[in-house]
Amino acid sequence: MSATENTKAVLDTVENVAKDPERTQPYAALGLKDGEYALIKDILGRRPTSAELAMYSVMWSEHCSYKSSKKYLRQFGTKTTEEMRKHLMVGMGQNAGVVDIGDGWAVTFKVESHNHPSYIEPFQGAATGVGGIVRDIISMGARPIAVMDQLRFGAIDHEDTARVFHGVVGGISFYGNCLGLPNIGGETYFDSCYQANPLVNALALGVLRHEDLKLANATGVGNKVVLFGARTGGDGIGGASILASDSFSEGGPTKRPAVQVGDPFAEKVLIECCLELYAADAVEAIQDLGAAGISCATSELAANGDGGMHVELDRVLLRDETLTPEEILMSESQERMMAIVDPAKLATFEAICKKWEVEYSVLGEVTEGNRLTIDWHGERIVDVDPSTVAVDSPVYDRPVAYPAWIDALNAQGVNASGLTRSEEGAQLGKWMLDLAGSADLASKSLITNQYDHYVMGNTALAMPDDAGMVRIDEETGLGVALATDANGRYCQLDPYVGAQLALSEAYRNVSSAGATPMAVTDCLNFGSPENPEVMWQFSKAVEGLADACQILGIPVTGGNVSFYNQTGDKPIFPTPVVGVMGVIDDVAARVPSGPQDAGLNIYLLGTTQDELDGSAWAHVVHDHLGGRPPAVKLEAEKALSAVLGAGANQGLIFASHDLSDGGLAQAIAEFSLRFGMGARYWLGEIEARDGVDLTAALFSESSARAIVAVPREEDVKFIGLCEGRGVPVMRIGVTEDTAAIEVQNLFTLQLDEIRARSNETLPKYFG
C-alpha cells in the first residue's frame, strides 16, 4: 500500500462507519470496558468513528468523568444547607467554585492533582500541574493571584526520592515564578507509601468582581468557537497512538511522548490576554484545555450551553503536521484556551490576541440543536450529543469492602504496643529536638526559598505562617487566607476521622492567622477504585468531610479526585488534601505564627487528651503506626476559631500557632523560631487539669488547640473572650529575650540548636 492510500484509509468518517459497521476497535486498549463500548454503540445507534471513540475514551476516563467517585461526591451538594450556600456564587460542577467575600468581590480557588505525570517526569509534571489549575481559575473570569502546592514524596532517604524532589520543586518554582503568582503555602511530607507514586497537588486562587463572573457555556447560535494560545502538539497523548496503530494497517503506532511540556511564558501571556478579553467584553465564555484537550473543551462547552456546536478540526494550528485527527482531539498540549466569541466582537478579539502575540484560530460556531459535529477536511468524523460525552458518562457503584486489617491496626495503639514514654526532662528535650529535625516537621525553607512570595505586592502572610494570606482590595485591606492539610497516617487508621481532622486543621490554620473560614476545596488522593478496600476508604473520607463541613457550616466549592495512586499494588495512605479559604476584613489585623516581643503571656487554648496514636512522636521516636487517631471536636474548633478571629480583630493576639503534628512540643519550637524569640513554659497545670502525663502534654496531637501570645495588659479582656466562647484557656508560658526555650523543671533548649536541627534535614538529602 502506498503512503497516500494509507492516509486515506485512516479517516474513519461517520459515512465510513455505515460502510464498515463491524470493524473491531481498540476500545479496551483505550481504557474502555466492554460495557462502556456497548453503551457508546447504544447511544450512537452505530459503532463510533475512531475520532468519537477517542473522545469518549478520554472523557469517560476516571480522571475526566469521576465515574467511580460521583456517587459519593454528591454528598458535598446534598449536605450543603441553604445557610452554607449564602455566599456561594458558583458551586461544584464548574471549573472552580466562586465565593462572595463582600464589597462586590468574589474569589475562586481549587486544588488539583498532577501525581502520575510528576513521577514519570517530575519537573514537567509538576510545572504543568501548576499551569493547569491556573487555567481553571481564569476560565471563571478571575485574575489568578496566588498558588500553593501540596507534596508527598517517598522516604526521604530512598535513592529515588531526590530525583523526584528536585524535579517537582524545580518545576513548581519554574512555572509558578514565571507566571508571577506568589506561592503562599503548601505541605511537604515523606513516606514510603508514596515512593513510586508521589503526590503533587497544586492550588490556585483567583479574584474577580461579581459582575465579571463567567461560566464556561457555549451559548448564542452563530457565536464563534475559537482556539487560542499555544499550538497543538503531540504531547500528552498516551492512548491516541493506539488508535493510530489500529487505523494504519502497516507501520505501527506513531511514537508520541506521554508527558506534556510546559511553557510558562506562553501561559503568562495567555493570562494577560484572557483578562484583557474579559475587560473588553470580547468573549462570551472561555474554557481551559486540560486533560482530554479539545475533546473536553468542545463537549463541555456544548453540553453546558443551550445549543450544539460545529468544529472544523483541520483548522487547529499544529506544532506537528503529522498529527491525526484523533490525536488532535486527545492532545493535552498546554497553554491553550477555547473561547466563545460573538462574531461582532471577533475583530476586538483578534486585536487583543495580536497585541499579546497569541495565536488563534476560529474552529467553528455554536449551532442550533444539540449535536456536536466535527469535520476533518470537509468530512464528518464526529456527530454526537455532547452531554453523552461530557456529562452523562457512566456512573459506577464500585464494590466496597471493609478492610479486615484495620481492626488489627486500630488495636495496636501506643499503649497496647507498650511504647516507652518518659518523665525525664533530658529525654523529653531530646525527643523534641528529634521531632523538630524529622523529615515531615523540619524546616521547608529549602523548598519555599525557591518560590517567589513577593510578586504582586499583596502577600500578607506566607511560609512559615499557619496560612497564606493575600490582600484583595488595596483600599480597604480586605483579604483572604488559605491553608491546606491532610495527615495520611490518621487517614490510614480511620479515613472518616482522618478527613475530618484534615478539615479541622486547615480550618484552625486559617483561624489562627486571624481570618474567618468560609469555604472548602479538596483533592482526594487514593489508591485504585477497583480495590474494594480503597473504595471503602474513599467513601468514608468523603462522608467524613461532608459531615464535618456541614457542622462547621462551610461548603465544599470544588476539588478533584485522584485514584490509582499506588506503589505496585499497594495503595498510598488515603490522602484527602483539604483546603480552607477564610476572609479577613483588613489584612493589617493578620497574626503571625510566632511572637516578636518579650514579656507576652502565652496561653494554651483547648484541652489535651492522651492522644499519641498516629502521632509524629510515635512515628519519629518509635517508628510506629497504630491505634485510633485523635478525636474530632468540631464544636470546639468553631469556638476556638471565633476566639482567634475576634482576638485578632481586637488586636489582643500578637501571635498564634495551631497545634498539630508534633503537638505542643513542635508548636512551641516553631513559635519561637518564627522570629527568634525565646520563651519559658510550665506544664504542671496541663498535667493537673487534663490528667495527662508529660509525654502526652508535650506530644499528644489532640485537636482544637492553639497557642497564642497576648500582651499582659490585655489578659483580662482576652480571658473574658475565651470564657465567653467556652474555650478552655490556660496560661502556660511567657516570651523572653533569652534565645532559648525553657520548659521549667524539665529542660532548656537553645533556639540555635533547634534551628540547626530543623534546618539541616532537607539540605542533608537534597542540598
Binding site: I120, E121, F123, Q124, A230, G233, G234, D235, K255, R256, P257, V259, V261, D263, F265, A266, R319, D320, S333, Q334, E357
Partner: protein, 82 residues
C-alpha cells in the same frame, strides 16, 4: 586538551519554547527565510588525559541518563575533538 563534545537537542515532537522565542525575535529583526529554530545544549567535557575507550563509554552513558532527559531530549552527537 582532549575534549568530548556532547550535543543534546529537545525532541522534535515536543514544544521548544526557547526555539520559538528565538525564531520570533529573528523574524522581528527583519531576517526572513528562517522557518524554525531549536535550542539545545552543548557540553564540552575536558579530560585529564587521552580519551580512553572506557571513559568514552562512561560519558556515553552519562549523556543518555544525566546530561539529557530522555523523556524530552535526544543526544544528537558525541564526538572527541583534539
Amino acid at each position: 586538551m582532549p575534549t568530548i563534545v556532547v550535543e543534546v537537542m529537545p525532541k522534535q515532537e515536543l514544544l521548544d519554547p526557547q526555539g520559538k522565542a528565538v525564531a520570533a525575535a529573528i523574524a522581528r529583526k527583519g531576517i526572513s527565510g528562517v522557518s524554525a529554530v531549536q535550542v539545545g545544549k552543548r557540553f564540552e567535557i575536558i579530560t585529564e588525559g587521552p580519551v580512553t575507550a572506557e571513559l568514552l563509554e562512561s560519558v556515553k552513558a552519562l549523556a543518555e541518563d544525566f546530561l539529557s532527559n530522555a523523556v524530552i531530549e535526544d543526544v544528537v552527537s558525541i564526538e572527541v575533538v583534539e
